[in-house]
């Protein structure tokens, strides 16, 4: 037992005061009466012995002294100190890549080796979802191989002991002072997956990780194709949806893929500064549908940087990045391209044009011979121009240009796209195994635990006070 404030024991001097007070209380009490005349006529007598030495008086003093002692002890802050191993903070990063789906039981078996008295934080590598302990996957990434780097960085900020559970090694090095314990739950899987799928030139193309039978459903008819690594088959012109599936195996995430032909209508999203002219030009076109959020096919960014939201086709108007200098427009000319079809150079009434800071794959418009509008790469159009609403937007070339952009965006929209296709690496199982060895963790530090007994002392004092009050009140009766 130790005390936080040993100096409080000076309060034990109050015991002396109590003793002196009790001696003083044994002197005759003084009673003032209106007249002492009658009392003078009553003879005094020696009190009986039992009145002088009442045990109740001694008990009262004893109780008072115990109460005072208990209060002094409470003020001194008594406590019992124990040393015991403190729980370790262990961060467990569980690879939530798709290829871990068949490994869930292995993960649970390895993590059950952890001491439940430790403070265990589990982080799923894909979603960075945190939880205390391991209760199975919340969310498995089925579309890509997850980079465990961010989750491991997060774990390193939370604990000095990191356990990484995966079926393959991570190319990540722990920072100084942090220990990484690799747990590998790899091993051969009896898996055949679809690693590539698509429709081009009216033909369905499928590539499997190894030779296998595949069932292809087009509309209401299904065809089972003989085992092969590559599959190629004709697609009816009216088909809009194709489903290819393999026989279920240990890893089912790559056993099925859907190939769809999207609608011809283009979903258009906007971000950045509002531009009523562009919005009006887009909304007036029946091939466009303006959407808020979601995944538009065409994204028009106005006065924004090059990062942020993206889409298959992005048009940057008056971009904040990627423009070297801004200047008054020179002689405007238009390069022949499907995007500039029927766009007249004399309609391009601009206030400023920018010099593009990077080489353009396909220049579209020039000012003084230098391109200010270009197709940087497939799906990325930049127009480094500023204009007044009475300038270019008031001319016929403006809606024509945006109609060209919509048509350009729609050219890919009608294409086939595969859904449920995994990265090819996801179909290759990790083969290594490495069990978790809890003995490699740092030893638990000894924590000093102190149980404060001040409250108990105060409770004891209160109890004794109640007893004291009981005796005192009985004494008065």
């Amino acid at each position: 037992m130790n005390f936080l404030h040993p100096a409080a024991f000076a309060g034990l001097a109050s015991l002396l005061v109590l003793i002196l007070l009790s001696l003083w209380r044994q002197r005759p009490a003084t009673g003032i009466v209106p007249s002492v005349r009658l009392w003078e006529r009553i003879p005094d007598r020696l009190p009986p012995v039992r009145a002088l030495r009442r045990p109740r008086a001694s008990l009262s003093l004893l109780l008072q002294m115990v109460v005072a002692t208990a209060l002094v002890v409470a003020l001194a802050g008594p406590g019992i100190v124990r040393h015991q191993p403190a729980p370790r903070r262990i961060a467990v990063v569980v690879d939530s890549s798709a290829y871990m789906a068949p490994r869930t039981n292995d993960v649970g078996r390895e993590l059950s080796k952890l001491d439940s008295s430790d403070d265990i934080l589990t982080i799923e590598s894909g979603s960075l979802r945190r939880s205390e302990g391991w209760h199975g996957y919340h969310e498995l990434s089925m579309a890509s191989v997850v980079d465990p780097g961010p989750a491991l960085d997060l774990a390193a900020s939370e604990a000095t002991e990191i356990v990484y559970v995966s079926d393959r090694r991570a190319s990540w090095s722990p920072p100084p002072g942090v220990s990484l314990h690799l747990v590998l739950v790899g091993g051969p899987l009896d898996n055949t997956g679809i690693v590539d799928a698509g429709v081009e030139d009216g033909k369905l193309f499928l590539r499997l990780s190894r030779s296998a039978e595949v069932e292809v459903a087009i509309g209401n008819s299904a065809v089972k194709r003989p085992p092969a690594i590559f599959h190629l088959m004709e697609v009816p012109t009216d088909a809009t949806r194709i489903t290819a599936s393999l026989a279920p195996d240990a890893f089912t995430a790559d056993d099925r893929v859907e190939v769809e032909r999207s609608e011809g209508r283009v979903d258009v999203g906007f971000s950045g500064r509002p531009d009523a002219s562009i919005l009006a030009a887009i909304e007036s076109n029946p091939a466009a549908r303006v959407v808020r959020g979601g995944a538009p096919r065409l994204l028009i960014r106005i006065g924004e940087g090059r990062g942020g939201a993206s889409a298959p086709v992005v048009v940057d108007v008056d971009p904040r990045e990627g423009v070297a200098t801004w200047s008054a427009p020179g002689e405007i000319s238009v390069a022949p391209h499907e995007l500039t079809e029927k766009v007249e150079a004399e309609d391009m009434k601009l206030t400023e044009v920018g010099t593009l800071g990077e080489p353009a794959e396909t220049p579209l418009m020039f000012s003084g011979g230098k391109p200010f509008a270009a197709l940087l790469k497939r799906g990325e159009i930049v127009i480094a121009a500023k204009y007044a609403s009475a300038g270019w937007p008031a001319r016929p070339s403006f809606p024509i240009f945006w109609a060209n952009v919509l048509r350009y965006a729609a050219s890919g929209a009608g294409a086939w796209s595969a859904k449920g296709l995994l990265d090819e690496t996801a179909s290759r199982p990790g083969l290594e195994r490495m069990a978790l060895d809890p003995g490699k963790f740092q030893a638990r530090p000894l924590a000093t635990l102190r149980t404060d007994l001040s409250g108990a002392s105060i409770a004891l004092a209160a109890l004794l006070l109640a007893v004291l009050w009981f005796f005192e009140s009985r004494g008065r009766e």
């Binding site: 005759p28 009490a29 009673g31 005349r37 009392w39 005094d44 020696l46 009190p47 009145a51």
Partner: protein
């Protein structure tokens, strides 16, 4: 000092009983010792010039052939002296004995002044005279707030004339006996209001106690147990009986009451019961 209206209504239905003919300086409703115009015959005297012919007793003239006039007594309002003991011993009780004494004095003074009498308050250093109904508010105010000084025995010694004398005290004062005997012999109608505090009736003393006198400071140390308390009660009873006997001997009214008895009950039961009020 405020009496509630219900109490005043009940109080107004009473009046201070006058058993002796006590002359007051003012005309009132009580038979006086002076000649006046009441219907009560007083005496005959020889006719003097200027006497009202209507007062001539013609039947006496027929027998004695001398003119005599009938003299009647004068109805007088009583004269009340209220002597309030304000010594330190009166500060005991809840309410204190002094507080009860003030209220009793106020009630009796209210009745006497209300019927046109004189009320002399002996509470402070000097006596204060209140005359007639118009002085009632002042009387009540003085009863409530006048600081009490002096010994009641000294006040009693200064009372002159004849009238009602009410002494509200705990009667522990040594000189009271002689002063009141002198007044009783002088034709005053005395009323003793013997006020006792609850702690006097039932002393809360136990064990070894140094018992100090509130006035003299004299102290005695006694071991107090049930025996001593019983003996104290006997002595107190003797003390009370002594004053009651004293009062009976001198045709004085005697009322003993504890200070914690409700005031209404003191006035309407105790004082009426002892004939102080009628």
């Amino acid at each position: 000092m405020v009496f509630d209206s219900a109490f005043l209504k009940r109080l107004e239905a009473l009046r201070v009983a006058v058993r002796r003919v006590v002359g007051g300086p003012r005309e009132g409703e009580r038979p006086g010792v002076r000649r006046g115009g009441s219907s009560v015959f007083h005496s005959y005297r020889s006719y003097a010039q200027g006497d009202d012919f209507r007062s001539i007793d013609w039947s006496l003239y027929a027998r004695l052939e001398s003119l005599f006039v009938r003299e009647r007594t004068r109805d007088e309002a009583p004269s009340l002296h209220v002597v309030v003991d304000a010594s330190p011993s009166m500060a005991f009780g809840a309410p204190t004995k002094l507080e009860l004494a003030r209220r009793l004095g106020a009630a009796l003074g209210f009745l006497v002044a209300g019927e046109g009498g004189d009320v002399t308050l002996w509470l402070g250093a000097k006596p204060r005279l209140f005359r007639g109904p118009g002085s009632v508010p002042g009387l009540l105010e003085a009863m409530a707030s006048e600081e009490g000084t002096g010994r009641p025995a000294d006040s009693l010694a200064r009372i002159t004339g004849r009238g009602l004398v009410v002494v509200a005290s705990d009667f522990w004062d040594e000189g009271l006996d002689a002063a009141m005997s002198s007044l009783a012999g002088g034709g005053h109608q005395l009323t003793l209001l013997h006020l006792l505090a609850r702690e006097e009736l039932d002393p809360p003393l136990r064990g070894r106690v140094r018992i100090a006198d509130s006035e003299s400071g004299v102290a005695v140390t006694r071991f107090v147990a049930d025996e001593e308390i019983a003996r104290y009660r006997e002595l107190l009873e003797e003390h009370v009986h002594g004053w009651r006997a004293w009062a009976m001997k001198r045709e004085a009214s005697y009322v003993r009451c504890a200070s914690d008895v409700p005031f209404d009950e003191v006035c309407l039961v105790y004082l009426r019961g002892e004939g102080v009020l009628e």
